[in-house]
Symmetry: C2
Subunit: 323 residues, 2 copies
DNA sequence: AGAAATGATGGAAGCGCTTACATTTTTGAG
DNA sequence: CTCAAAAATGTAAGCGCTTCCATCATTTCT
């Protein structure tokens, strides 16, 4: 069944049916009602491809995500998808992995599906922040970065202020008397870089050995903390991710130490851990809501800010309390 | 730029270009090479909508997922998406939520995007296993259920044998001397029902009070365990989900008890917990790989089994050891 | 009342690709 | 060489919808 059949049955032209379908145009109420009733009666759904051909869009939004099995990204994807649906947009998900080749391939795939826009979750860049593929992509459709911003045309960033958040973390621990704060981080995505910068700025003079890069993995963090402690004892723990903070804390706990520890992202594991982990809430939900709003506005041709940044706040639990 | 431009530049007809694009058909090697070089030179990518109109497919697979922010589902989605990409298929993700209306709406959305098939992750059914919408959908495109099977045409199930797994869990705890095993479970999706049946069959005579339904949430599980213990003390813990097992264990630990506990799904939190949680590995990766293989075979018109089931196995950690 | 503006509807040309069928070229057996 | 069969290529008719432009029916204004 196609639009022509409906037109026949309603005794109108395909143009009129199309107008009824698109909702907006000028159709007399009677005609609209008659056509609509026939559409309903037959359960007619317009062919998405034909519509796409005519309109140039099939209402798909690409989600380029480093790894959805990561709890943080998964939450973001979930939240974004829900938002999108409210605008009758569907999400095409691509998990890129860490390799640049995978990132490029995924991007190509999304573009080939003619998505209307792409939301970037995690780091879509290659080593050394190689981003020529993003520049190219941005010419084809708007790019919305989550906790990420590039100063190129067609790019819109929505970020939580992680640098500032990490500064606060450092300040908190310092107030609690820590002056050798270990910082565990994974990878060097732009988001992680911001946190690291925050640490550097706030900690000022510190032993470079206190900065430890490790895999985003409990065991890796435990080992890293263990060997760091032998090499350069520390009195407080910060991390770019809750899981790393938990690992480090566990390793110290095994030595009978209970060091002030603050994680980052306030993820599920923070509450599951024993003792429960104090963590920096990144306002992911707000981030996602705003990202989708931005996206919709851009698609509607509105003039929107190129970069929006929102503040984080601390959620206190057992591993560290402010007062 | 379209296929016509390429045809012109190559001095051939659009049909020939199309043949080169589709790869398969008979084109002389010289012609193919000439056309291909021009395609490459211009970075030409065929219009997905037009292709869709002609072919009736745009190589999209729907993923109907109850909630990607759930770690288990997220892993499944991630794994499936990766597999799909190897077949040059893209994944359209829809998170349905728990409401039947949301499930129906998501299904409609996927169908309206003309996906070639839909993979169901979590429970797509309504209360009382209402599934008429699925029956309808199965008429339009194949449905692949992950840990789910319906005996309707067009439905293919790939499941881990959760009933059997839960029987083993019960048997293990019984061997360890437990004879009042509490079972915590969330929701009554078909997958959860299978586990529950496993418990019932293996536990045989047991106090019905030992079955506790609760939210999939740490605190909820703790409270539930706490009040159950007051009402009907138990000596072992099983659950449909790791997080519930952890909650229950925590609550008992707070009372100074360390009960044999086995979780389900072997998720990340199982390792993060202290003490680490023994859990039933559900072979999710295999499940996903097989699901995608099934899907591809179905799309290629192969004759595939309607239901495939694979065994789980226990991963021992601190909360319970077999020996 | 007649002209002009306004509103509703229809006709038909795309959108860019696929593919059945027609046509031309090549191949090789006799 | 000749000619039929096979291979390569071209022609053109869709696929189902959108939308510009034309047409016809109402109003509104003078």
């Amino acid at each position: 069944m196609n639009i022509y059949d409906i037109a026949q049955a309603a005794g109108v032209s395909t143009a009129t049916v199309s107008r009824v379908l698109s909702g907006s145009d000028k159709v007399s109420p009677q005609t609209r009602e008659k056509v609509q009733s026939i559409i309903d009666k037959n359960g007619f759904v317009p062919n998405a491809f034909a519509q796409g051909l005519g309109l140039g869009s099939i209402k798909l939004i690409g989600l380029l995500c480093t790894d959805v099995s990561d709890a943080f990204f998964a939450k973001a994807v979930s939240s974004i998808e829900q938002q999108l649906r409210q605008y009758d947009l569907a999400a095409v998900l691509c998990c890129t992995g860490e390799e640049l080749s995978g990132k490029k391939q995924s991007l190509e795939l999304l573009l080939s599906k003619k998505v209307d826009a792409i939301i970037l979750i995690g780091s879509p860049m290659g080593a050394g922040n190689e981003n020529s593929h993003l520049v190219e992509a941005a010419k084809q459709c708007p790019l919305i970065g989550l906790n990420l911003h590039l100063d190129i045309p067609g790019f819109y960033g929505v970020l939580s202020d992680q640098e500032q958040a990490m500064r606060e973390n450092v300040a908190h621990l310092q107030k609690a008397g820590c002056n050798k704060i270990a910082y565990f981080y994974d990878g060097d995505s732009p988001a992680n870089q911001a946190k690291l910068v925050g640490y550097r700025k706030a900690a000022k003079d510190f032993d470079e050995r206190l900065l430890v890069q490790t895999k985003k993995d409990l065991d890796a963090a435990m080992e890293a903390a263990d060997s760091l402690f032998d090499d350069c004892p520390f009195d407080g723990i910060l991390a770019s991710e809750d899981i790393l903070a938990i690992g480090a804390y566990k390793a110290m706990a095994a030595r009978g130490l209970s060091l002030p520890t603050i994680g980052f992202n306030n993820s599920v594991v923070a509450r599951c851990a024993t003792p429960s982990l104090t963590s920096m809430e990144n306002m992911l939900d707000s981030l996602c809501t705003i990202a989708v709003t931005q996206l919709v506005d851009v698609l509607n041709g509105k003039n929107v800010p190129r970069k929006i940044s929102i503040a984080c706040h601390l959620v206190e639990r057992e591993t560290f309390r402010l007062t």
